[in-house]
């Protein structure tokens, strides 16, 4: 795998993780205010 391909893969993984963490962060904040579980129910 070339260096460019490796870096694209790293960026893609970071993007997906950040997107998921963003959704989880908002869910956590809402759960702190209203109550609720971090996982289960809606997807993320």
């Amino acid at each position: 795998m070339t260096l460019t391909k490796t870096r694209i893969m790293i960026l893609l993984i970071i993007a997906i993780m950040a997107f998921v963490l963003g959704r989880l962060a908002l869910r956590t904040i809402l759960n702190l205010l209203l109550g609720g579980t971090l996982f289960g129910g809606n997807f993320l």
Binding site: R7, A18, A25, G35, T37
Partner: protein, 331 residues
Amino acid sequence: MSLKKGDRKMFIFICIMTFVVCFLLGIGSKVVLKPSWAKNDEVKMTPEVGTLYTDLSYGEKESNRFDMYLPHDQTKKHYGLVVYLHAGGFTYGDKSGDKDILSWLRFKGYVAVGINYTLFNEDNPDANVYTQSLEIKDAIPHIIEQAKQYGYSIDQMAIAGGSAGHTLAMIYAYRDAKTSPVPIQLLFGAVGPSSFYKEDWNIYGFDQNTDEARQGAAGLFSVMSGTQITSEMIQDQTYLEKVKPISALMWINEETVPSIVAYGKYDKVQPFKGSQRLLKAYQDHHVDYQYFVAEHSGHGLQNDNKIYYQYMQTVEAYLDKYIPVEESVNK
């Protein structure tokens, strides 16, 4: 060598920026993106759908206003009225916040109404759940008369709401049903407290057998009911009679209207335990009820879209069953 170092720094910078942007996109997606079924219920305000009259008066107080959503078809002999009361912890909120659900109800053929009531705040320190419930009670005859003036004769109604609005809707449906100008056929709502048994209010620690817990319960229940409740009353259980006027559950009997309710299992605002007492009251009195539990959610039912979808589907089915829209005279 120095070029490679700079290249690596740039890549790390791009990684950080990608993380920040995608993190924000993740937050945004959770706020903006709705399930496909929710989009189906969105009804845009167009003349073909009907007419909206805002801030019609039902009393002398500044907040005694209601919005009336009238269906386009004016040819029916009678119309069902659906009142939806807004949320906001009895201290904030406005009827305009329920535009989507009121538009949907109007689209289905009902006269839909959102009512404002005097909120408990610095400007209105004497407002409480009891005075708010009396305002709702006063509003209903005015609403029916106003609809008649617009050419819509109301012969039956449903009442609903979210959170505080759900509480007020239950009080009207269960406590005031006999004084209603038209028969109440249905109640629906989510996450509204229906009773004030201190042992249920564990989320605020009122279930503890301490002076502090009793004082806390006495303070909150006094503010909500508008009557003086002391720690001693909490201790000897006499407070229950004091909170009866705002405890919808205590008015449930064999004649109670069909009811659809939804609650979040991890609610931090109002106690889920109280909703289980409500469930038992429905069962004991053989009420036609539907009780939904959002197993992963709190006060917003925010983590259980599927349950909320089932709740709304049931609301629609019960509306069709108990308050069917008449066929148009022209058909």
